[in-house]
Structures are given as structure tokens and as C-alpha cells.
Symmetry: C2
Subunit: 346 residues, 2 copies
């Protein structure tokens, strides 16, 4: 009999609420013969304040034993900027070698976009997750003086770039349009830019069916608002990916529906799925958060584990729910979760 | 009697056409007692192919003698990516210490925006121009092998950050809304982020009337499409500024109307004014390019030289022209320039 051993990290703020709904939908969609085991972890601001810990070696050992991780959101204004981001989220992505940060953007029916007209949006960003300016390399001298110098070092390796570029080509090849766009800034960041461009062109030779193009990250932001239909799959570095996926989420219905996966395709470590949104402390505990982004992250989780039919059912349920939601009064977090659980079970 | 000694760099592609119109408007708006002297320089792809030169020390010495520089656009697909960008544009910005890269975004009447509704857009980005990931620091080892490592180093100094932050506070103080937003990614790029944030907060104490806030660059892209009215003045680093000003241009009517100044406020070196758009080789030589961005750059140039009334006249002419243009057949580059020259003279 099959089983899923899931680590659950609700985290801070609305993370708690949306993860509960994600689990509700996950339980409802799984076939009866699949045993779902969950273990909850208390990472986040509360634990940090109580113990000073963000993510210990023992925590990593414990998490490592699970098949997969579902994360709500980590972050709270009471914790200095960077402490939980670097100490928990990035530490985990790096420790578990989550080099494929997968962020699909699809404008679903009935979802409001800030763009005029009726844009067609259906693309996926493959963001590198373990290199670039996110490595923490760099430093500060003469801190706090008028002679302070602070550096940030973007580290890019052929090994790291090639594996994510390969993943992106495989994804492009599997999609109907078979188009892959490299986003970088190779006219200014020439060292990293040449590496990315060379690797991209080399791997492209193995995928003759995939149409490729290149655009600078600044121009990419223009196309994301004027012609998002031009994108099918995008591959890009860690920082550019961070920036353009927030914009992509905004134009395709907002962070209420944006899902993501921090994936280790080799499965040496568990992958982690999380909504793109943060902990939103301003609306936490009020049942106002939209759990849709978490539920769509559960769909990515299911697909990662090979439950393709179940993943599709979750996505269809979300589409149906969003369509029906139009023009109706707002529902609470758990009402939306309940409705989705009923649909996927049905 | 007054005079302006202007270096003119038409550059590549549509740069030639739009600069001609910029000069037309500049000549028309200047009072009779102001003597306008211009000298044209042949930088760009043609000269690079003919001589291998992008910008020599002798060129810099010659340019240095002018009061100010008007640039069209530099760049051509026949030149490898990075050669003219690093060899001409960035070399000049760094050599002349253009640390204030000024990019206003205003949605003018009759200008189409990709955003739905009727967004209010009137802000200015003060982008740092001489530091960050643009310094060219970094390198490559084992180039072209599977063990290649490429680094890019973002360099940030208290000196460099403070002067641009001060410039931004002064600009915010002079505007009716008096609001300044720092855009960075201080939760991930903690070394540079702390420097920027500390300097920002320190200078803020000297400007009690200016309201300040901070947002991460990824979130900034969301606000730029969902709530651009929240911005008045933005100060940010070189790379983040590059990215968000393209997006800002896109939402406020496109790069056809986006102007910029590469400013050295201490006037040790001439400042340079240029449209944000590139050389657009696909439409070059056809009279299709909109010279408005260049004409608005001329307005920034005039204001920089203290010709405030003339700058305002140019901006008013553009606003009037855009209003009248609505629903009419497209005009050629020189027709638009002629119309603007008539307006400013009138
Ligand atoms: C919270 C932060 C560290 C993170 C990132 O920059 O990757 C977030 O913005 C994201 O996109 O997941
Ligand atoms: C052409 C390129 C070097 C330049 C930059 O990145 O600064 C351009 O994008 C700009 O914004 O002026």
C-alpha cells in the first residue's frame, strides 16, 4: 500500500490558516489506499523568540526523513529582516538542494488581473534556487562608519546552471508550445551572463523541438505586462526569478493564487511546496486569507510525488471554484477550503 | 550672454532620428540670448566595427569639456552583447560619476497603459548609477568547462549610497507629497541591505517632513502594477533601478515616452540625458520612432542646467501633443518633432 510521509510547517501569520485548508484538500483528494502521515513542525517567529533557533541541524535531520514538505509562510515584523529568511527559508532551500524553484503563472477564469484587456497568461518560471546572489557570499568592512563597504557576491557554477537549464528544457519539451526563454542581464553581468548563455545554448542543441529566446530581465518586466502570452517556460537565476515571479503572480491574479515548489529533482532530499505569498500579519487569524495558493501548491506536491490524476483534480477544483466565486460575497478561508475539499472528493 | 555647449551622441538605430527631433525642440525652446553650440560624436556600432573603439581616453577628454550630453541610443545586434553596454554606456556613466540616474514616470493624458482602470502614476525613480552589481567586479574561472565558476560582485559604499540617498530625500522634500520609498532586498542581500537601510534611516532623520517606507524589490513590482499611486520618489540600487524603471516605463505609457538623466549633481563632469529605450534596429530609418522620450529627456537636461521655465514649456508641449494625438493617424518621427518645436516656440 502507498503512503505519503508529509512534514507540515504552518509557520507564521496566515500560514497556519492556509496550511490547514491545504491539508483538508490533500486528505480529500488522496485515494483510500494511500496512507497520509503528517508531522507538524513549529518553525517561525514564535519558536525564534522562545529559543533563538530558526532551523537547527537536528531539525534538518528530522525533516530529511519525510517524503515532502508543505510550508505555509514564515515571517513576522517582530523579527529583524533577514533572520528568518536567511536562517530558515534559505537555509532549508540550500540544505536540501532545492535547485528548481518552480512557479507556474496561469490566469484562471474569474480571477482579476491588473492588466487591461483579456491577457492570455499560462507560463511557468523555473527559477534557480541554490546559487546566484542568494549564497550569502559577501561581507561588510568598517560597518556603521562613513567608510563602510558592503559586497554581495553572485556565485554561478556550470554544474548549478546546467542542471536547472536541463530541467527547464525538459519542462518546455513536455508542454504544447515548447518554448523556453532565458532571462538574464548578460549585457551587464557579463561573467555570469556568459555562463548562463553558453550553457543555455549548449543544452538547446539537444532539444531541437524547443524554440528558444533570450531577453534581459529589465525587458522581461515590460513583456510581463504588455505581452505575457509570449512566455511559455522561463528559466532564470535566483534573484531575477524572485523578482519576475512576484510580478508574474501579480499579473496572473495576485499572490492569493500563486503556488510554488522548491524542488530537488534527484530526490536526495524532500522537496518543499509553499504559496508565494508571505505571512500577512495584518490579516492573520481573521479567516480572510485565500487558501487557493496553498491548495495549488498541494497540486504541485502531488504531481511531484507522481499523483498526476489527483493533482489535476485539485487544479480543476480550483478552476471551478474560482469560476463560481465570481460576483459572490467573499468566503472565509475555511469555507473556500471546505468547498475545494468537497469538489476534489466528488 | 548665456550659452550651452552640448555634446550630441545620436548613436545607433533610431538614436539618429530621435536625437534630431530632440535638438529641434531644444533650439526652438531656448531664449534668443542663449547660444547653443553642439558637437556631434560618432560613438556606437559603426565606429566599433570600423576601429574597434567604443570610448577612448581621448574621447572622454573631449566629452568632458562640454556642459552636457544628449544621447540617442547605443547598441546593435551585430555587436556582441555587453561590448557597447560595458564599453561605452557604462564606461561613460562611471567615468563621469553619473551617480544619480533619474527616471521620472508620469502617465500623461492620452497615453495608453497596459493597466486596467485609470491608474494615477506620477513618481520618479532615483537609481544609483555607479555601484552595485554594475561595477564589473567578479570573474570567471575554468571558462567553458563543466567546472566553470562565474561571480558578479555587487559593491556598495557608504559614500556612494549616502550621496544618492541624500539626492532622493532632497527631491522628495521638493515634491508636494514628500514621500520616499527605499527599494532593496535587505532580507536576502543582508550586507548591502543593511548598509542601504542604515544610511536611509540616518538621512531620514534630517528630513522630518518626508514620509518614508521600505519595500523589497519583488514586492515593488507588484505595487507597480496594482497600486502605482503609492509611489512618489523611489531610491534604489543600480540593478534594482534598472529593472523597476523598465516596468515603470511600461505601465506609464511605454518606453516611447520614458526619459532619463545620468546626473553628476556636483557638476565635476557633464551629465548625460537619454531616452530609456534602445536603438530598436527593427524600426530604424523608417521614421516610425516616437521622439517623445528624447524630447522629455531634453526637458530634464534643461532643468539640470537651470532653465526651469523652458523645461516646463517642453513638458507642457508634450502633454498637449499627446492629448491631441489621441485617435489620430500615427505621425512620423519628424512630424512629431516639428509639432513639438512649434508648440514650445509659440
Ligand atoms: C522571503 C524571501 C527570502 C523569498 C526569496 O527571496 O526567495 C521570497 O521572496 C520568495 O520568493 O520565496
Ligand atoms: C543598456 C544597459 C547597459 C542599460 C542598463 O542596464 O543600465 C539599460 O538597460 C538602461 O537601463 O539604461
Amino acid at each position: 500500500s502507498r503512503s505519503i510521509d508529509l512534514a507540515v510547517i504552518p509557520g507564521d501569520g496566515i500560514g497556519q490558516e492556509v496550511v490547514a485548508e491545504g491539508l483538508k484538500v490533500l486528505s480529500a483528494v488522496l485515494p483510500e489506499d494511500v496512507k497520509l502521515e503528517t508531522k507538524e513542525y513549529d518553525f517561525g517567529a514564535k519558536r525564534y523568540h522562545a529559543t533563538g533557533e530558526t532551523l537547527t541541524d537536528a531539525d534538518l535531520d528530522a525533516l530529511k526523513k519525510h517524503d515532502v514538505i508543505l510550508l505555509g509562510a514564515i515571517g513576522d515584523p517582530s523579527v529583524p529582516s533577514g533572520v528568518l529568511e536567511r536562517g530558515f527559508l534559505l537555509k532549508l532551500r540550500f540544505a536540501f538542494d532545492h535547485h528548481v524553484n518552480l512557479r507556474p503563472s496561469k490566469l484562471l477564469p474569474g480571477v482579476a488581473t491588473p492588466l487591461a484587456g483579456e491577457p492570455q497568461i499560462d507560463f511557468v518560471v523555473v527559477r534557480e534556487g541554490t546559487e546566484g546572489p542568494y549564497t550569502g557570499n559577501g561581507g561588510t568592512i568598517r560597518k556603521g562608519t562613513e567608510h563602510e563597504v558592503a559586497t554581495e557576491v553572485s556565485v554561478n557554477t556550470a554544474y548549478g546552471v546546467e542542471r536547472v537549464v536541463r530541467d527547464a528544457f525538459a519542462r518546455a519539451q513536455a508542454r504544447p508550445r515548447k518554448k523556453l526563454t532565458l532571462v538574464h542581464k548578460n549585457n551587464v553581468l557579463t561573467f555570469a551572463g556568459h555562463l548562463w548563455t553558453n550553457v543555455f545554448n549548449t543544452v538547446a542543441a539537444e532539444y531541437p523541438e524547443v524554440t528558444t529566446d533570450y531577453i534581459h530581465v529589465d525587458a522581461a518586466t515590460i513583456y510581463l505586462v504588455t505581452d505575457p502570452a509570449r512566455f511559455d517556460v522561463i528559466v532564470t537565476d535566483n534573484l531575477f526569478g524572485d523578482i519576475i515571479t512576484d510580478l508574474a503572480a501579480a499579473v496572473s491574479g495576485g499572490i492569493g493564487v500563486a503556488a510554488s515548489g522548491n524542488i530537488n529533482p534527484s530526490r536526495d532530499f524532500p522537496s518543499m511546496f509553499e504559496p508565494v505569498h508571505g505571512s500577512a500579519p495584518d490579516i492573520a487569524g481573521q479567516g480572510k486569507a485565500d487558501p487557493t495558493a496553498t491548495v495549488l501548491s498541494v497540486a504541485l506536491l502531488l504531481r511531484h510525488l507522481g499523483y498526476d490524476a489527483e493533482a489535476a483534480r485539485v487544479e480543476e477544483a480550483v478552476t471551478a471554484d474560482l469560476t463560481e466565486r465570481q460576483g459572490k460575497p467573499a468566503r472565509s478561508t475555511s469555507e473556500i477550503g471546505d468547498a475545494l475539499a468537497v469538489r476534489v472528493a466528488g
